[in-house]
C-alpha cells in the first residue's frame, strides 16, 4: 500500500522539520524554547494523523496534549522564572545511568512486544471509517477495550485526587477576605489608620520618579507618597530641589513667567517646605493680579 503524492510530500516536508524540532528540545538552552519545540512536534504529528485519516486522534492530540498538558508545562516554566535555564548538576547520584538503563529496558520491552504481536489482517480505511472515524473508535474503545479504558480512567482519577491531597493545606487561621480587611481598616481609623490607599508620588513638569514626594493642597510635601523603603534608605528627594530645578529651566526659557517665582524665592527662606508653599502662594498672587489688570 503506497501513500498518495500529496501525503508523501506532506510527510517529507514535515518529517525533517519534526526531527529538527525534536533535536531542539534536546539542545536549546531555555526551557520555554524546548517547550515550543515539543509543541511543534505535537502539532506536526497531529497533522500526519489527520493525513492518514485518523482525524479524531489528530484533533484530540492537539486539544489534550498541546492545548492542556503542554500549556500546564509552560505555566510552570513561566512561574519558575523568565530566564531560568537548566543547571546540569545531577541532584540524584547516578541519575543519568539509571535513566539510560531504564530507557533501554523500556525500549527492549516495547520492541519485544511489538515484534511478537500477531496483527489481525487489516480491513482498510474505508471499512474502518464507514460509520465515521469517531464512532468506529468509540465502538472499539467502549466494547472490546472497555476494561482497559476503565482502568486507565481510575488511574487518572487517583492521580488527580493524589495531587489534590498532596497540595492541600489546612487553614490554621481565619480567612481574611475583602470584608475583614475593610473592617480592620475602619477600626484602625480611631488609632490613626487610614481608609484610602497611600497617595501616589509627585508628578512634576520634569520629574515623575518614585522618589519624589507629592504636594498636598497647601503645597507641603506628603511624606507617605514616597515608598517607605526609599525613605528609610534616605533616597528620597525633597520637593524643594525639584521645584528649584524647574524654576531654573523656566528662568532660562520664559523669564517673564519665572520672575514672580524668583521674587518669592528671595523673600522667603528657602527650606523645602516653605519654598513649595511660597511657590503655591505666589501662583495665587499672580492669579489675583491678573484679574485686577482685567
Amino acid at each position: 500500500m503506497t501513500a498518495s503524492t500529496g501525503e508523501a510530500v506532506l510527510f517529507w516536508v514535515l518529517a525533517p522539520l519534526m526531527v529538527v524540532a525534536a533535536l531542539g528540545l534536546l539542545f536549546t538552552r531555555k526551557a520555554v524554547h524546548a517547550a515550543i519545540s515539543v509543541v511543534f512536534v505535537m502539532i506536526s504529528l497531529a497533522i500526519l494523523y489527520i493525513a492518514q485519516e485518523a482525524p479524531f486522534l489528530g484533533v484530540v492530540q492537539i486539544v489534550v496534549y498541546t492545548g492542556a498538558v503542554m500549556m500546564l508545562f509552560l505555566f510552570v516554566l513561566m512561574l519558575v522564572g523568565v530566564d531560568a535555564s537548566d543547571s546540569l548538576v545531577e541532584t540524584i547520584k547516578g541519575q543519568r545511568w539509571i535513566g539510560v538503563l531504564l530507557g533501554l529496558g523500556l525500549g527492549s520491552v516495547l520492541v519485544g512486544v511489538v515484534a511478537q504481536t500477531a496483527f489481525p489482517p487489516s480491513v482498510g480505511l474505508t471499512e474502518a471509517n464507514a460509520v465515521t472515524n469517531p464512532v468506529a473508535l468509540a465502538r472499539i474503545l467502549f466494547s472490546d477495550y472497555v476494561f482497559a479504558m476503565e482502568v486507565v480512567g481510575i488511574l487518572l482519577v487517583t492521580a488527580a485526587v493524589a495531587a489534590l491531597v498532596l497540595t492541600h493545606k489546612r487553614r490554621l487561621s481565619p480567612r481574611i477576605g475583602q470584608r475583614e480587611v475593610a473592617d480592620a481598616k475602619v477600626s484602625a481609623l480611631a488609632t490613626g489608620g487610614r481608609l484610602t490607599p497611600l497617595p501616589a508620588p509627585g508628578v512634576y513638569a520634569q520629574n515623575n520618579a518614585m522618589d519624589t514626594p507629592a504636594l498636598d493642597p497647601q503645597g507641603r510635601p506628603i511624606e507617605l507618597s514616597v515608598s517607605r523603603v526609599l525613605r528609610i534608605r534616605g533616597q528620597e528627594r525633597s520637593a524643594g530641589t525639584i521645584l528649584a530645578a524647574e524654576r531654573d529651566v523656566l528662568l532660562e526659557h520664559e523669564p517673564e513667567r519665572a520672575l514672580p517665582a524668583l521674587r518669592a524665592d528671595t523673600s522667603v527662606d528657602a527650606s523645602a517646605d516653605t519654598t513649595a508653599g511660597a511657590a503655591a502662594d505666589d501662583a495665587d498672587g499672580a492669579d489675583t493680579s491678573d484679574r485686577q489688570e482685567r
Binding site: 482525524p55 500549556m71 513561566m78 471509517n129 460509520v131 480611631a190
Partner: protein, 442 residues
Amino acid sequence: MITAATVPGVSADFSNDTFWTYLVKAVLIIVFLLTSVLVAIWFERKVVARMQVRPGPNVHGPFGLLQSLADAMKLLLKEDITVKAADKFVYLLAPMIAVFCSLLTFAVIPFGPEVRIPFTDFVTPAQLTDFPVAVLYFLACASVGVYGIVLGGWSSGSTYPLLGSVRSTAQVISYELAMGLALVGVFIMAGSMSTSQIVDSQEQLWWALPLLPAFVIYVIAMIGETNRLPFDLPEAEGELVSGYMTEYSSMKFAWFFLAEYINMINVSAIATTLFLGGWRAPWPLSAVNDGMFNEGWWPILWFLVKMWGFMFLFVWVRGTLLRLRYDQFMKFGWTRLIPFALAWIVLLALTQGARQFLEIDTTTILVVGGVIAVIAIAVLWFWPEKKPAAAEPPPFDAFAGGFPVPPLPGQQLPPSPRRGRALVPETADDTQTETTEEADRG
C-alpha cells in the same frame, strides 16, 4: 491534490469541489473575516457609545464607518518597537500564532446550505470544508491560539505581560473545560460532531431551547475564552496596563488586536451553528412558502444576523458588567460552572440512554422532564427559608469599631438626650449626666 469525496458522517456534499473552489472559498473567508473585524470595531465603539449616551466615532466617513480603517492605517505606520529584554524569535512568533489560529476556525463554519453560483449550474455548499470532528477542530484551534497570548507575555521579558500570560493560561484552561462540556451536550443530542450535520439536526428545534443550561454555560465560557469584559483579566487595563500586549506596538500589536476580534467572531459563529440552528431561518419565516427562506442565498443572511446578535451580546455585556476579581472568577469557573456542566451532561446522557435503550419516545421524556422541572421549581419556591437562629440582637453601640455608625436592622436607636430635655424639662439632671457620658466617649 485535494481529493473531493463524500465523507461518511458529514451531510454537506463537497463532491463537486475542486482545488480552485477551495481556494476561492478560503480567500472569501479571509476577506469576510478582515472586513468583519473592521465593522466589529466600529460596531462595538458605536454601541458602547450609545449605551453611555455619547455619539461615538462620527468623524471619518458616514456614521464614522471609516474610523477603524483610519485606526488600522495608524497602527501600520507606527514605529515598531522590539524591547531590549525580549526573546526576539518568540516575541515575533507569538502574534503570528494568535492570528493564524484565529483564522482557521471559519473553515468548518457552514454559512448556508448548498448554493448555486449565479449564471452557472455549479452547486457547492457555502462552507469551506467539514469533517466528522469539525467542532473538536475548533477547540483545537482555540487552544493553540492561546499559545500566542502566553508566549507573547513571556517573551516580552517584563512583569505585567508575564502576569497577564500566566493569568491567561489558567483562565483559558479552566474555561475551555466548561466550554467543551457545554458542547458535549450538543454532540449527544445531534449524534455528530460535524457542523453541517449539527445544523441539519436542528431542523425541528434549535438546541438552545432543550439544552438551555448548556447554552448558558457556553455563552459564559465563550466570553471567558475570548478575554472580553467582564473576564478580561489577562489584559486588565486597571491592573496589568494591558497584560500580555503591553510591550507590543505597531503591527505586532495590531495582530493581537485582530486575533481578539476574529476570536469573538469565531465563538459567535460556533454558538450560532451549534445552538441557534446555524443558517436556518427563525421560526415564523421558516414556514413561509414551503421553506423558501431556507434555500439558496437567504440562509447566509440568517447566519449573519444571528452571529451579529452574539456580537451585540458581547458589547452589551461589556457595557453593563464590571470586571471580576481574579480569584472570584477562577472560583466561579471551577466550583460553579464545571460541576454544573458535568451534572448536566450526566442528566442528558441518562435521558438520552433512556430514550434509546428503553425505547421511550421523545414526547414522554419531554413531558416527564418538564413535570419534574416544574415540581422542583415549585418545591424550591415554597421551601421554607431557613431562619437564622433568633439570637438576641447585640445592644446598639454607636461607636462600633471606633467609628460612628447607624443602627443595624433590628437594633433600636436609644432615645435622644436632646428630645428628653425638650419634652421633660424637670429631668434636666438626667440629661446632664448623659451628655457628659457622650462627651467622655467621643
